[in-house]
């Protein structure tokens, strides 16, 4: 579901390490349907191939759909699989070779431009479902289109963001602990830096932020969305590392690192996970699916009530939303399209939110009291629904270039290297430049 959701499950990691076997084995073992996608008892089998946490299993949607359609057998697979390391390469290969993809597949925001570009790979959803445009804000609907304008994807969730923080650690450092007060204090990024300085000065022995990655990505999106929309690479594949968003986000990280406000916890590392339970850092930007999906399981019941969530600095953010699409190679594209439309409908988005916290992309679902008035008990009853809805309300859509993911990886790695002392801060931009050039050369032109 989300790029961030790298190692949502240890099982997923095991799968990643074992190579593509996990997905292909799951695909082969299915449940006994033959090549034309019909099971032995004559039902049409539809395979929904996903990554990360879409929440369909948790929300019981598989059984619900089968109860509504007694000629359909839904098989959901790939829950917990890593998007970037595992899922995307396998899906790309399947699309290229014309076989092996699911009947319905999930696509992460960072991959839509790349994967949707060729409309020949996808079943045209616009034919029967063009009226579903009304379920979405414009950008979520149009990002689900191929380069030639064919509608190929239905949006599922959006990654509304807030700040997850530890009240006990803030209190120990003499910072405000009330979420309203904090949101006001760090409504601007200068305000955020002031609080960071104050936390560091208190010298409580723990880090203020977890690490550079999450804050930098949040800032990158905000600056790009507010400005010319440019991040690392433009539409023609040229590096734009001098863009306001790239410069501003990296410089802010360097400044915060200078004052010692950034911890050395690489996102998704074992230490990062351990730090959430041990209180190793005080605050971290978090997408809507993170509080219940990541922090709560990592921190454990002992830390219930210590965490809280406040609105993020600046204009909020959107990190990691997804789409569902039907590959043209599906044996039953019409039935698959019907299933995809149902799974991504506002009512189901609400159910998924209730089950796993993925924030709905449909305004109607966002307005549903089950979403809008939702609170998170583990996070001191923070009104997460409200905070997340506000963060995506006015957030401008971002367009990711084909080359965004490799360059993003290069930038994040260099910044982690600055924090762990491998690179001097003054060399950061030079390192980013050379790593990004290599990434572009490998991923694109030339070789």
């Amino acid at each position: 579901m989300h790029l961030l959701n790298r190692q949502h499950g240890r099982v997923a990691l095991a799968a990643a390490a074992a190579g593509a076997l996990a997905l292909s084995a799951a695909a082969c073992s299915g449940s006994g349907a033959d090549d034309d996608g019909v099971t032995e008892d004559g039902k049409i089998q539809l395979t929904v191939s996903l990554f990360g946490t879409f929440g369909y299993t948790e929300a019981g949607l598989e059984a619900e759909y089968e109860a509504l359609h007694d000629d359909i057998d839904v098989v959901i697979e790939g829950d917990g699989v890593n998007w970037d390391a595992e899922y995307r390469p396998t899906l790309e290969t399947s699309l290229e070779t014309g076989s092996g993809a699911g009947d319905v597949v999930g696509i992460e925001e960072q991959g839509v431009v790349q994967l949707f570009s060729n409309s020949e790979h996808w079943y045209d959803l616009g034919k029967d479902y063009s009226d579903r445009a009304g379920d979405y804000v414009d950008w979520k609907w149009t990002l689900g289109q191929a380069a030639d304008g064919t509608q190929v994807g239905f949006g599922t969730d959006v990654g509304g963001m807030g700040m997850c923080y530890r009240k006990d650690l803030f209190e120990a450092a003499g910072l405000p602990t009330d979420r309203e007060e904090l949101a006001a204090a760090w409504s601007t990024w200068d305000g955020f830096k002031t609080l960071a300085q104050q936390f560091v000065d208190a010298d409580t022995g723990v880090a203020f932020l977890d690490g550079p990655t999450q804050l930098q990505n949040m800032l990158l999106g905000q600056l790009a969305g507010n400005g010319d929309g440019e991040m690392y690479v433009d539409a023609d594949g040229n590096l734009t590392l001098d863009s306001a968003a790239a410069q501003g986000s990296v410089n802010t990280i360097l400044e915060l690192n200078e004052i010692g406000a950034i911890g050395n916890f690489v996102s998704w590392s074992e230490e990062w996970i351990a730090a959430q339970a041990a209180g190793g850092f005080a605050v971290m930007p978090c997408p809507g699916w993170m509080p219940s999906g990541v922090i709560e399981p990592n921190s454990g019941p002992d830390n219930a009530g210590k965490w809280d969530m406040a609105a993020a600095p600046g204009i909020g953010g959107n990190w990691g939303g997804s789409w569902l699409a039907v590959p043209a190679q599906s044996a039953h594209p019409e039935e698959a399209a019907e299933l995809a439309a149902w799974l991504s409908a506002p009512e189901q988005q609400v159910k998924v939110f209730e089950a796993v916290g993925n924030f709905p992309s449909s305004p109607a679902a966002q307005a549903d009291p089950k979403v809008a008035d939702s609170t998170n008990a583990y996070f001191s009853d923070a009104p997460t629904g409200q905070i997340l809805a506000a963060s995506v309300q006015n957030f401008p859509p971002l367009t990711y270039s084909y080359y965004h993911p490799p360059v993003k990886g290069a930038v994040e790695t260099v910044l982690n290297g600055v924090v762990d002392g491998t690179f001097a801060p003054e060399d950061a931009f030079a390192e980013i430049q050379s790593a990004a050039e290599e990434a572009i050369e490998l991923a694109g032109g030339g070789l």
Partner: protein, 311 residues
Amino acid sequence: MTTETAARAPKWRLWASKADIKATPYALVSPYFILFAVFGVFPMGYTLYASLHAWKLGGADPEYIGLDNYKFLLFEYDRFNWSVFNTLGMFIMATVPQLVVALMVANALNKRLRRPMLWRMLILAPIVTSVVAVGVIFARIWGQEYGMVNGFLELIGIDRIDWQAERWSSWIAISSMVDWRWMGYNALIFLAAMQTIPRNLYEAATVDGASPRQQFWQITVPQLKPVLIFTVFVSSVGGMTMFVEPMMFDSGRLLGGTDGQYQTTAMVLVDILRTHGNYGVSAAAGWLLFLVIGVVAAVNFLIVNRIQGNK
């Protein structure tokens, strides 16, 4: 008529039996060669073909570019050369102590012990644990803030070390993982070989007044030479294709630390394929790795082959 038929039949039989003698052995051994051709020769040939082309997943049709992919890896992409250095370094750091300790352990197990089976099972246990689980546990053991090793260091007054940040420290951590897993396997192979050494050699040596230490170096080690060559060869291939341990040490990432401190060549190969979708360069990296393994195996063979004993 009858005489003619009678003369013919044996001739036909003779031919059939000749064919049987000549062809049947080939037919019987052919499954291996067919499998080897399909899963060995063909992929290697195809990889060679891919390595000579600009070949991107989802890109234009492959275009012949000669040795450009190799040139890129060797002269432009620093990570590749560093990865060969890292791989060799970690191989030596992991394999030498591993084989020495395995030899010692096997020698100890070869003595008369209570419950020999139990000891042998225990020593083999690490090999049946999942390498991913081992990686997760070891990444925790060697963690900076919450790791066990740093906890001990702090107890004796040494500052916490960020094991992932430096080349030497990350290599130590990863070598510990490799050794923990594979030491027992090698020890068991050595043990099996030791048990085939004739007892009378030792008895004769004892009569001549040789100490146990002398017996070990003058009899056991030379007698183990073929097995030593085998384990060194297998360890070379395993060490040079090291992948999961360093990947898990970096929580599943393929870059081996913030600056490739512990990125092995196999990780570079997979990173180029997975992250960048570049078949051509990845295939070239595979062939270069193959050549490196060949050189390393040859060097190891020459070294081990020098082991001599007074026979």
